[in-house]
Subunit: 115 residues, 2 copies
Amino acid sequence: MSELANDRCEACRADAPILDDDEITFLQKELSDEWQVITRDGVRQLERVFRFDNFADALAFTNRVGEIAEEEGHHPAILTEWGRVTVTWWSHKIRGLHRNDFVMAARTDKLAAEH
Amino acid sequence: MSELANDRCEACRADAPILDDDEITFLQKELSDEWQVITRDGVRQLERVFRFDNFADALAFTNRVGEIAEEEGHHPAILTEWGRVTVTWWSHKIRGLHRNDFVMAARTDKLAAEH
């Protein structure tokens, strides 16, 4: 499990630096290979699909991701469907990826592994 | 509140008829104006955004929508974000809109009104 998963989010201000390509490549190695860096509406985001056997398990996972989001005051987009949950992390204030997003992605991987 | 909200889903088989334009127009009048009929990946879907004051209220609504989905065995896509939930209903088996989707949309409106 990535060391990142044990980190906490730091305060993210509007003038915090967006991660550059090298930093993203470096941090992405700490996560499950299933995380993709995508660009949506001009904003780089970190996205992964998690699979489940049914809707109830998917929704339970959504709630666990919601719990860590509330703990850290950093909130993803969570798409809940029958048998799958798509989690997308990015930093709204800087319209891009911050180290916090990789911390939260690593913590999301940890939640899935505990499941 | 729409009478549709008091209906239940009927069994939806793979050979059930997809609603045509007239039927959709007729049923859409029973719902909040905020429901949009969209086409995604060639499949007509019924989608509405619900607004909330924070993440926790949005996630609580997601769970209430999840409950009615489980009751009826008919499951939407639910996108949970800070302050908003986007609910999308369609019938996977027929790759389009069935009357059931309008019943569930009306029930989703009722949940939001009760909130």
